[in-house]
Subunit: 344 residues, 2 copies
Amino acid sequence: MKYEPVTIKDIGKALGLSTSTVSRALRGSYEISSDTKKQVLEYAEKVNYRPNPIALSLKERRSSSIGVVVCEIANNFFSQVINGIDSIAYNRGYHVIISQSHESYEREVVNVHHLASRSVDGLLVSLSSETTDMAHFINLHEKGLPIVFFDRVTNEIITHKVIVDNYKAAYEATLHLIKNGYKKIAHITSSPFLSITKERLEGYKDALLENGLAFNEKYVKYCSHGGMIVEEIEGALHNLLKIKQKPDAFVTAGDRITTGSLTAIKNLHLRVPEDIALVGFSNTNIPELLNPTLTTIRLPAFEMGQVATELLISIIESKRPVTSFETRVLQTEFFVRESSVKLQ
Amino acid sequence: MKYEPVTIKDIGKALGLSTSTVSRALRGSYEISSDTKKQVLEYAEKVNYRPNPIALSLKERRSSSIGVVVCEIANNFFSQVINGIDSIAYNRGYHVIISQSHESYEREVVNVHHLASRSVDGLLVSLSSETTDMAHFINLHEKGLPIVFFDRVTNEIITHKVIVDNYKAAYEATLHLIKNGYKKIAHITSSPFLSITKERLEGYKDALLENGLAFNEKYVKYCSHGGMIVEEIEGALHNLLKIKQKPDAFVTAGDRITTGSLTAIKNLHLRVPEDIALVGFSNTNIPELLNPTLTTIRLPAFEMGQVATELLISIIESKRPVTSFETRVLQTEFFVRESSVKLQ
DNA sequence: ATGAAAGCGCTAACAT
DNA sequence: ATGTTAGCGCTTTCAT
């Protein structure tokens, strides 16, 4: 099946003009007589001429598209981020090309190479939970491909980054549980490689220590696949509940881990918050429709996408090499609901 | 900022070969001596050569990318469809470019034109709730751009389509409510223009009529924006509850309308299912974590994306013009949970 | 076995 | 005011 659009050459032939005249007329050059312009414009309109963006890209060495590398679209947080990305990109005339790593390092590498070469003008990246080697990014970054990291970042590459204050968020969540009388607080979190995991762990730890509670390694469970695999979460939960000093509360990191934990708890017929309290990082749209309603830390996902995209486009469109980079730290929101507050 | 990848010309210059030799060596042509091949391959590897896909596209008049036009990504159904699309496209070597209409006709038209021209080899489309004029698609379709519609389709364009049996799904849902003793069943649905809306309405209607219940226009409320606007759903609900013969059950169409209705019901302090029962079309990941757990009709979203993509790629890669088209009808799943069953 | 040249659609420098 | 030409990166005849 072949789709044969009208080209500038076709117009020229039809009107007895050279391609350059047509080109100039189309872009309203002052050198072209208004007669010719009118003629060309009208004909172009009539045949529904659309410039071939690929030819333009080849010529101008830019594609007006940006690549997005995330682990998963079907995840509230990331789909909201992508909405933010889209809202800016669209207005600035960029296509958004999305690729999912599904938390696989291999797949991330392939996707990045696929996007790179020349097909995108820049990259918005949130690392997969398996990624420890940044060579695929470093390589491209050194060649001058603009990259902005968001949420799951690396300090091996110096560029713009957009993150949230994960330390504070985890600290706040843990403190909230402590103040509500919970003393054996566990942390079910994502892959230990991720920046967000490390930051959250620190916040959790410090909240415990500063409030006279011990930090117990056994109370921290990592889901290396970020909760992609249900069994992973169930396993973590079962392990935690086997400890003799069984935890009375969880702080869960990430949408999937949070809802996965709730499901697992429900399957075990445990009551929340009576048997186990829960505070989760989650961008679920409907935490108050959950049973019980869920105390959440919500990330400013949409804003994150917007800020990251603005930063990326600023690099892309910068006339001179960008040498000074910033890390934007956005604030999270904390919503106290039923899952973390003991009923009187 | 400029990103300057290695070209075939660079390799040629470095090795003292012509570009055509390098090109052929790279693609393993039998005309090239194995010595030269080896030399070229090694050098290309060393400098990390990647062919410029844009140049290839220009030459081969295809971009190896497919455009997706949906109303909203941050919606379980569509993000799951996109996962299905992605799973096939990736393996077949296609990029996926996603654009969102946000249920706006204007925006849909702009997006489609943006994607078309030549930058995509085909289009996967689910119509916006405002779309009644198909000119933007017809135009491209007649020029030979492959298009496959899914979920929200039109019969004005003859091409492959992938839908679910909405009639049956709505019939089943309504029948279920009737069998559970509900007699005043309302239907809160999407824009009246959408194929899915019409099909579901028929199923709902027939279930009523075939079971001795009257079909009452007043019991049907349309959310023209597909539930994008919260007030829209609240308004529909309030109007329904103002009717003197107040409904005792709702069939809600679509993820957003379903959860929106639940939220509105909750805000009115009505009990589900005691005051009002609910069966919803929804691809929420966690219907059993909702309060009450939600009786849902679930669409095979992932499969839908896969099938649509396979059909699209089959058109794109077909040697001869495709003249025979099919409409695949997939089956929905019905999950009975608390929201639709009266407690004894 | 290798090179030279044309062409994909477009723009822009350089004629006229 | 309009035409001619070169070139973006690559493949592919058509020479040699």
